[in-house]
Structure formats: C-alpha cells, structure tokens
C-alpha cells in the first residue's frame, strides 16, 4: 500500500504494533540508537576506548542515568496498566516496588546477618515480580469493592503499612536508616563462585568484548525494558486489554456486556504489581544499598507524575514521561552549572543576563545557587521540586494527554503541513 500508509485492508495490519512504514523505520532507528549508545561512550570498551563519542558520556554516569530511566519505565508501565488502562487509581506502586526489592534481596543476597538464600539472578528477578503479583492478587478484591478516590486511599494505606513493615522487619530490611545491600547484577547458572556475566564489574561478556560495568548494566536494562514495553504494548491488543479499557470507561456497562469485573481487576492488579516488583528489584540492585525509607509515598507520587506528564494510558507516553521526569533534574543541574560558569567568567551579555538567575556568593542575590547552600536563592534540588510541581499543574490544565498529546499535535501539524488541518 505504498503511498497510502493509512489504508488497512486486514484486521492484523490495522492492529500491528507498528502499522506504518514510517513507524517501523523510526522505531528501528530509535532502537539502534539506544543499542549503540554505550559503544560511543568514552571509556566503555576495553581499558579506555570506545568509538569516537561525546565527552559527556564518559565515566558512565549518563549510562547509569539511562539505566535508571529504563528501570523507572518498567515500574511506570505497570502503573499505567492499572491506572491508565484499567482506570484503577493506585498510590501503592512504592509498596510493590519495595516488596520486589526485598524479595530479590532475600532470594539473591548471600547468607549473612540478614536473610539471604544466595540464589542466581534468573530466580531472584522473576521471583521479585511473582511475589509482588501474588500480594497484588491478595489486595485486588478491595478494588472491586471501592473505586476512585476510595481506592486511592486504600492503596495509600498500603504504602504506610509497607513503611511500617520495612522498618520493623529488620532481619530482612536491615532496619530503618541502616538498610541492607542488594544482590548485584550477575548472571550465574547456580551458586558458582565466578558468574558467567558480571554486570557489576568491568570485564568481558563470555570472554569476548571487554566493556565497563555501566555499559553492560545499561544493555541489560535496555533489553529488559524493551521486553516489558512489548508486554505492555501487546496487552492493550488482547482480550484482557480491551476488558481493562471497558472497565475504565464504565465498569457497570462493562459488566453488563459480560466483562468479569472481579477477574479483570485482579489481573490488572497482578500485572501492575509484577511490573512494579521487577522495577523495585532492579532499582535496589542498581543503587546497591537501600534503606526502608526509600519505598515511601514520594516514590509513588513520582510514578503518578510520570504517567500524568507522559500521557495516561499510552505506552509511548509513559516512556516519554519517564525520560522527562528522570532526566529533567540532571538537565536543570547541568544547565544551572553551565550558567554559573558563564557568570563566573564574567564576560559578555549572557553573563549579565544569567547573573540575575544565579547567586554566586553570600552577597549576590539570585534565583538559584549552585554553591554550598550558604548563598541566597534556591538549591538545585529545591528548584527541581518547584519545576516538577509546576509541570504537573501545567500539564493537568493545558495538556491532559501529556507529552504524548504534544507529540500528537506536532505530528498532526506536520502531517497536514502546509495546511492547518
């Protein structure tokens, strides 16, 4: 159907994941870009080498940040299934992430002062998802009894119950403010000493291609993220996915049409918790050591923000939202520090403009200070919170479809260009 990409003559082609040639090409280019990034990060291959790439990728902290994006995306996709697709508002994501993290820690950490079975990653990672899903199934019946704000309150309660449990089950969690270490990313067949692939240390994959730990971890997370994106995307096209959406749009109507509300709400909870459990286990392993306070309400709110900013109910929106929410603080920080550099150099028009925003010392007033916090103005972290809050408000009022909505408009504008519509 060259030249008429939107003409579909079969149900399969209409429902295909990438239903136009442009989408296929763009997806191919995007995925290729994601895969090759670590090969262009200075220092990621061998001792110091890589293909020629931008300096800012050196040292692996950007790769780590991108790995964090992948991990958050998995959790956000889970929340999107429950909230975006099935319409069940949940604040309980942090609880299920914590559950996943501690399941992984018990299954995967070596025996020691705290509970640990020392099992390999192919057990602890799915195990984290499965345990979270089972608890999700246990919670689900409440969702069939209450809806909307009441469900939000029930799931909010979960976060607090979780915080209480994590603080007091110190033989598992290490106790409040002390915390515990989590199993590192390493692929073992069983409990052998040397792992087949050790993602947490620089080295080779099966004896070939020596890469940095950050690059290897990034590729692992990228693979997992793609897997979960496919799962989430495919779910929308299944019987269950359609049932979720019918429940979201009007649960009573859905039930009258024969959709088993109890069954599908339970499925949605289980799936969402599974995603969250995996995400929590990965996040804890990436960080290395977490304290029980990590899995708090703020984490849940962060996930709500991701799907609101990205676009509720849309997989690509969720990914966009995650990229935005995780990378924004870093971009704000780098931008502020760059402005500070210009101000300190003291030359040019830019320096005088930026000087209004940047506070460089105790006697220099400005909006932001990058210094030790003794100068007036907001710290970068506080500035990020302000921006974050503003964005949620702005998106809710002006663009309820989130970043995905913006993308749709940009796309439609160029589709019909030079005509307005």
């Amino acid at each position: 159907m060259r030249g008429r990409p939107l003409l579909f003559i079969s149900y399969e082609s209409d429902q295909a994941l990438l239903n136009t040639g442009t989408k296929k090409l763009m997806m191919f280019l995007f995925l290729s870009l994601l895969v090759v990034i670590p090969f262009f990060a200075p220092g990621s291959i061998g001792e110091q080498g890589s293909l020629p790439g931008p300096d800012f990728l050196a040292g692996g902290d950007w790769l780590r940040l991108l790995s964090t994006v992948g991990i958050y995306a998995i959790g956000a996709l889970g929340l999107n299934i429950l909230t975006g697709l099935a319409g069940q508002i949940s604040l309980g994501n942090a609880f299920f992430m914590g559950l996943g993290a501690y399941t992984a820690a018990v299954l995967g950490s070596p025996e020691g002062a705290l509970w640990g079975l020392g099992l390999p990653m192919w057990i602890w990672l799915p195990g984290a998802g499965i345990v979270a899903a089972l608890v999700g199934i246990f919670i689900a019946p409440t969702a069939t009894r209450v809806r909307g704000l009441y469900l939000a309150i029930v799931t909010l309660g979960l976060v607090f119950i979780g915080e209480y449990l994590w603080r007091n089950l110190d033989f598992i969690t290490g106790g409040s403010q002390s915390g515990r270490s989590h199993p590192a990313f390493a692929f073992r067949l069983w409990k052998e000493e040397t792992p087949l692939i050790d993602f947490s240390k620089d080295g080779t994959w099966f004896g070939v291609l020596n890469m940095s730990s950050e690059a290897k971890t990034y590729l692992l997370i990228l693979g997992l993220t793609i897997l979960f994106v496919l799962l989430a995307k495919n779910l929308q096209r299944t019987r269950s996915g359609r049932a979720f959406m019918s429940i979201r749009d009007r649960d009573i109507a859905a039930e009258i049409m024969g959709v088993d509300e109890f069954k599908y709400k339970t499925t949605a909870f289980a799936l969402s918790s599974f995603f969250a459990g995996i995400s929590g286990a990965l996040l804890a392993s990436l960080v290395g050591r977490t304290i029980p306070e990590t899995w708090n309400l703020f984490l849940s709110v962060e996930f709500i923000a991701i799907i609101l900013i990205g676009g509720v109910g849309v997989v690509s929106g969720t990914i966009l939202g995650t990229i935005f929410v995780i990378l924004l603080p870093r971009l704000v920080q780098d931008f502020t520090e760059w402005m500070e550099g210009v101000v300190n150099s003291g030359h040019g028009v830019l320096a005088s403009i930026f000087d209004v925003f940047i506070s460089t010392g105790p006697n220099d007033f400005g909006l932001v200070n990058t210094s030790a916090g003794v100068a007036p103005g907001l710290g970068i972290d506080q500035l990020n919170l302000v921006i974050y809050g503003l964005l949620i408000v702005v998106f809710l009022i002006f663009e309820p479809l989130g970043l995905y909505g913006i993308w749709l408009r940009i796309r439609n504008y160029w589709k019909s260009w030079p005509f307005t519509y």
């Binding site: 050196a58 050591r289 971009l331 105790p362 916090g373 972290d381």
Partner: protein, 457 residues
Amino acid sequence: MRIKSKWLAILLTLGLVLAACSPSGDEGTETTEGSTATTQGSTETTEGMTDTTEGAMDIATDVGVDLDAGTITIGYLTDQTGAFSPLVTQINAGIEAYWADINANGGIHGLQVQLDFADTAYDGEKHVQLFNEKKDEVVAFGHSVGSPQTVAITPGLQEQGMLAIPLTWYSGWSDPAYNSNVVPHGEPYCIEAMNIIEYMVDASGIDSPTIAIASIPGDYGLDASAGAKLAAEALGLDIVYDGAGKIIPGDTTSYIDVGNAIAEANPDIVYHTGIPWLGWPEVYSQAVITNGLEAMWSGAAPSWGPNYVAEDSGIRDEITRDFYWATVAKPWGGDSEGNTAVRDVMTAAGAAPSDFYAEGFVESQIMYQALNIAYENGDMTQAGVLAAAKSIEAVDYMGLAPSDDYVGEPNDTVQRVGYVMRPDPTSETGSMLVQPDYTSPTAAAYEFNEACYQLAG
C-alpha cells in the same frame, strides 16, 4: 487556549534541547568557588604559579587535578536541602572560607583548589547517582554525608580507588571492615556516649544513677545507643527505659510515646539521640515540659541545636538546666591557634559566629594535608591522594581537635577525646565549653576492635 499550550510545548521542548546541549562534561563549569572576592583576587596568582608547578617536579595526575590550568577539584556529597541541611550548610560555609583562604595564600604548591558541592538531600539513591557522576571529575570527596549513604558508595570508592572523608561519626569508620577508602575524624558516636555519660555520672553526685536511653533508628542513633548501653554496663547503671531506635523522624506519635515513656521511667540521666530539627525537641518537651521530669539530659552531637536556647524556643530554661553534650572540635570561642584561624577567616567572610564552622576546618585540614603529601610524593592521582591520606600518622588540626592517626591498629587509633559542652544563652553561639580534651575512664578502657553497632547485610 490551544495556541497558548502549543507555544508552551514549543518553549518547553526548546528549553530541554538547550539544556541538553549544555556541556555537562565541562569540568570548569561544575565547580563552586569560595568567597568571591578572595578567589577572584587569587586567579592571577594561580597563573603565575602554574609554571613553577610544572617545572618543579614530575607529578602524576588522572582525575580532578589539572596542572596546566593549575587547579585541583575536590567533590562534596553534601546535604543542602535534606534532614541535616541546617547543620551541614554551616559546615560548608566553613569549608568554603577555609579553601578561599588557602587559595589566597598560594593554594597547594601553587595549585588552586576548586570545590564541587553536590546536593544529595540525604537521599541514598541520589547519593549513589551523584557519586557516579562526580567520581570522574574530582580527585577525592572532601566529605560524604550519612553512613548508609557512605556505605553504599564504598564498593564504588574501592573500584575507583579514591578517598572520601565521612561526615558521620559512625564507629564503623574506625573498623577495617568499612574503612578501606575513608579516613574518619573525631570520637565516634559510641565513644562519645561513653565519655559524656561518665561525665554526667560524676557531675550528678548520685551514687548509682538510673539511665533512660532513646534514639532514632539507623547507624547514628543506634551506634550512640550502643555506646550508652556499654557505658551503663561498665558503670553499673540501671537502664530504666530502653527506647533505642524507637523515635521515628516525622512520626509525631512516636515522639509523644517515647517522651512519656522516659518521664514514666523517671531516670536520673537521659541519653537521647536524634535530629535537632526533626523530633528531638518534641521528645524532650514531652518528657520535661509536659510531664515535669527533672533529669540530666544528653544526646550524640548532632542532637544539639543552638536554637534551643533562643528566647522563643520554649525550652530555654529547662535545657540550660539539664543539657550536656560533646563535640569533636573546639567550639567557636576556643583558645587554640586553629580557633583563632576559624574566627579570623569566618569574620572576614562576613559569617555570624557558629560552633559548626570548626568541623568544616577540621575535615578540610585532613584533605589539605593529604593533598600536600600526595604532591610531595609526585602522585596526585585519586589513588595517590588516598594513599597519602592513609599514610598520615598525626593530622595537624592546629589545636582545633585531637589529632587523628590513620596508620595504626583500630584500638590504638580510634578517637577517644571529646569536648564537653553546656548550653549558655548568653554566649554568641549558645554554648560554652566546660571540659576540653576529655576522655572518660570507661572510654579509655574500651577495647575497640569493630563497630559498636553493626550495619547488617
């Protein structure tokens, strides 16, 4: 509305693109310099000195030291907006003024020191992320705030082979199991508890006083509580209430419960460790103001807040009557050469008097010595600076704090000396030094081979 939001979208996108294009790897932009006047004034010196530096000897460098530009960059994993920020920002003011002064006087063999503060907001995940961001930009970390956070970056420090100075007094930092890449300073929480409790027992004049112990959870509260229990055992004190780890920061009910429980136990001495801005005064008020308990009261060093003796604090008279604490460095009004330096430098920087600047000077002094030794060894790599710090047998604090030793055995090197303090509403900083260089017999006799409180897993 439609048009407006379109523009908004474009603006947002543009902003992001702009921000993304900013050169994040540009090291020069990521640094904070001390007091502007001094630093700018010293720029010329730097350039002048660079030649000498290069000509003088062959120096190995890798990260954070640029001999051509004549700069050394030290990183700080600090807390500017989190639970301990009111205290840490004052320590940071001390650090900034210290290095501005060093720079103005020629720096480290002519190399100017630049400081790179990264705000972790006392959050573990952010701490690890910022560590990974900064580890390839700075030669060493001038401080790393928080024990679980610092433990979390220990594998990274080991892999990178670099030094961090912990801004926490967890006793594990003197334990070989944890301290491969850190150099501690000052008495750890548990030793501090032994010192201050024995001091209070002596001061009370009671034969065998009873004690109540309460704290927040975590290394800080539990390490201090562990020390208090060891002291109680050694001195034969009866522990009438054990609330170690029972105060939950942010949970008001726990403040009231613990406060009531302490009052009910009616002890002669209370050892209560917490966060001065988050629950500490509430627990104290509940026991002392609401329930009318009269007892000698103490808590590990960061429990103290100078605002307690402010007129509107509501606990000024009681706390002035009851409270004792210990510090790791001589306070603002101290008589040492180091104190004079702190007062001169801070006054010149326009800062108000505070006891906390001394801590900034003490940790900077360790770094100063390590950098100088590394320079003299001709190895200013990250590993070189770590090795230099680990070779120091006596840090010279100019009398500001008892000297630290990073070479000997833990039992010989763990710091056992502190400064006993009392509140004084009439002094500039709200405190007065009542006993300098104090080591209690209990602390002196304590066999230190491992951390008093073990971080699990």
